[in-house]
Symmetry: C2
DNA sequence: TAACTTATATTAGTCACTAAACAAAGTGTG
DNA sequence: CACACTTTGTTTAGTGACTAATATAAGTTA
């Protein structure tokens, strides 16, 4: 039986690093207050991080009546990770440092039509090129995170995609990619990756429970509670796109009826725009990539095109309906909107979702739910994947030079 | 700020007790295998439980070629807890021992019309009477668990109901009940309590993620992952009844549209039965308590009454739709059906839900989701509440006679 | 300059757990 | 029936992550 690693972030070193990232420059005392650990423990943990070079001391703060605080900062470039977003329409690569800054970025053609082995070589090349272009030292690279749409199959110890990218079905991607690149690989659902990325970037309260709604070709969502993603029993939690919003609705490829994705996913909205009569002034919508077309539609809406506005608003209203369901079931404090679908029309979606949450969730009398845009809407999944690789690396022990 | 207790069941003593309860009679070696703790640790933990009287040694097993195992059993009656299910239609009290056996039971009138202080006195009397009737030693009583429908307000450190039982809104029930009874009080959502109860009774795999759908006057659900309930940020997670199954549907009192509860809750089904023409042969449906009426309807359906069957089937079909949404979002391994709504027609609901899950969830290719009936459908919430009280007591340290 | 503050480090524990050796109680074999 | 071998459980002496209490360092204020 495969040994499952405990899914709990109680790891103090990681938590301390999270807090430093979110609040730098900071000091040991502030860490004491944030963590409810004792000064002694913080001294220890910080020393550890200093020795590993993940954190630096950068001078002193003004005294507040006693010894001045020693300021601590993340040593941002002491570690980098690569994030790959393997979408249906396109592939995005980012390199992110310890702070979650995107230090390199590259967009590639989609791989839906390629052979698995070709995909591996293609990705390995792209990663190698990115590392070279940035002049990164390979020894400082934590690993590669790959984010992809679900449903995923985790059996056999490694995640394998089982649906969207059909030719990858049953292929042990992580294994092959690890062999091809020599770097540790983490694979996760795109929405989950995006959700973890927001935490890393500090968009969300560290103690909050929140969901990230990820709008790309499909509609997904990821949940984070206390800094730990909720993945469900097979890493397929949060499939918002296949929540039914109409029990008498049309049948979906997934087998369900009235799925949100059938009425509110970008391809549907874009198609509606393409079908519009010329008089609507939507002629300019691109025939190519869905993400680009969605983006154009959003821009038209922002410019005041009524037809575009109506299409987006209808989509936003339906998505809001799904978000209300999500909140009634998960009872989160915050919802983050992420993914390429939001790049040009986030405001419309934000407003619709916020309005729905303020008037239609069951627990709205107990607490409000805030809707916020992602700190990095377009690259949320890729960046999130990179942060997953960082997190994975940081969770393992310092490996004090395998001495004896 | 209120200190929040860590929501993680990593407490080994509790886990060991869980395993003994589920697999008794068992032995230390088996515990070693189940927990992946070392023999040394198990020796320690079991000694602890023996000293506290929660567990007994009961002879030996057959040898398997070496020293025979010393068999361990729960000391069932060394601890008892009271569970109260504060429903809209009725109040149920149970007393449960360490094994989750119901050792006493009492059903009371509903309290929706009473004054808060009167409710407290009423409950305190009922609890005292139950304890006396059973001849229980007060010192062995772990506490009282109260399960009630949401939404709940946890602010101020104590849960207070904010909706269904309107006269309890804003009333610090836990505080008052503790004063009146002298016993520690735990309050939780009815569906969450029911879910924890199933775990306690061993209906579910200890490692599985599962949801309990609780059908009473409303429709709720509770989620348990690795033995720990998921409550969301304000203990209002799992409100399945207010998941919208029709975005164009009628407006619900909760503010949302097309809520599942509007079309599939027992009061709705019962009302439909009452409106049926006399020719349908449904004349016998009681005018009183919704739960009784629902039960009668189920019995008529089981006897083959077509009209009753149709009403229940329609309800089951709609509930199944909500359950598919629940599973697509939470990605659980198992769904347990609990609550008074299922008592007489569980089979119809089970079949509808299982069929829907087998054909309509997104991750069905990755793993199947089993639907099972509760081990104690009618008393699931009350029993669950009792187990919450037990769990709460057991999680605190032995309290070695406040010396010094 | 002494007295107070505030920030950090050290020391000596505690707690939950483990590794390794040991003891106890059976079975099988020559 | 003595001896090896299994299997189960215990003991002893740790380890790692944390804390409480005390010490030290580096400022400010009276």
């Amino acid at each position: 039986m495969i040994k499952v690693k405990a899914p709990l972030r109680q790891d103090s070193r990681g938590r301390v690093l999270d807090i430093i990232r979110a609040t730098e420059p900071t000091s040991r005392i502030e860490l004491v207050r944030e963590t409810s650990l004792t000064p002694a423990s913080i001294t220890h943990l910080v020393r550890d991080l200093l020795v590993q070079g993940l954190v630096r001391e950068v001078g002193q703060a003004e005294s507040t009546g006693g010894k001045p605080r020693t300021l601590l900062r993340l040593n941002r470039d002491s570690m980098t990770a690569i994030g790959v977003q393997l979408g249906a329409a396109s592939v995005a690569l980012v390199a992110a440092n310890l702070a979650g800054d995107i230090v390199g970025r590259q967009v590639l053609r989609g791989v839906a039509d390629l052979d698995p082995q070709v995909i591996v070589a293609f990705l390995a090349d792209a990663v190698a090129e990115l590392i070279d272009n940035l002049g990164l030292d390979r020894s400082t690279i934590a690993g590669i995170g790959v984010a992809m749409p679900g449903p995923l199959d985790i059996s056999g110890g490694y995640l394998r995609n089982v649906s969207y990218l059909e030719n990858l079905s049953g292929f042990a991607l992580a294994d092959e990619l690890e062999t091809a690149t020599g770097l540790p690989i983490v694979i996760d659902n795109d929405a989950t990756a995006a959700a973890v990325g927001e935490y890393w970037l500090g968009t969300t309260d560290r103690h909050a429970a929140y969901a990230t709604v990820y709008l790309a070709t499909g509609i997904g969502s990821g949940l984070v509670v206390n800094g730990m993603p909720y993945r469900g029993s097979s890493s397929n939690a949060g499939e918002l796109g296949h929540v039914s919003v109409d029990f008498r609705g049309a049948e979906c490829t997934c087998g369900n009826r009235g799925c949100l994705e059938l009425v509110a996913a970008p391809p549907v909205l874009v198609e509606r725009a393409r079908q519009a009569p010329p008089s609507a002034g939507l002629g300019e919508i691109s025939r190519g990539n869905v993400e680009d077309a969605m983006s154009q539609l959003g821009i038209l809406a922002a410019r005041g095109n009524e037809a575009a506005l109506t299409i987006i608003r209808d989509g936003a209203e339906l998505l809001a309906c799904g978000i209300v369901t999500l909140v009634n079931l998960f009872d989160v404090d915050m919802v983050v909107l992420a993914g390429p679908g939001f790049t040009s029309c986030a405001a419309i979606y934000l407003e619709a979702a916020q309005k729905a949450l303020d008037s239609r969730t069951l627990a709205r009398g107990v607490h409000t739910v805030r809707v916020v845009p992602s700190a990095s809407p377009r690259d949320a999944a890729a960046l999130g994947a990179a942060t997953l690789a960082l997190q994975d690396k940081l969770e393992r022990k310092p490996v004090a030079a395998a001495k004896k």
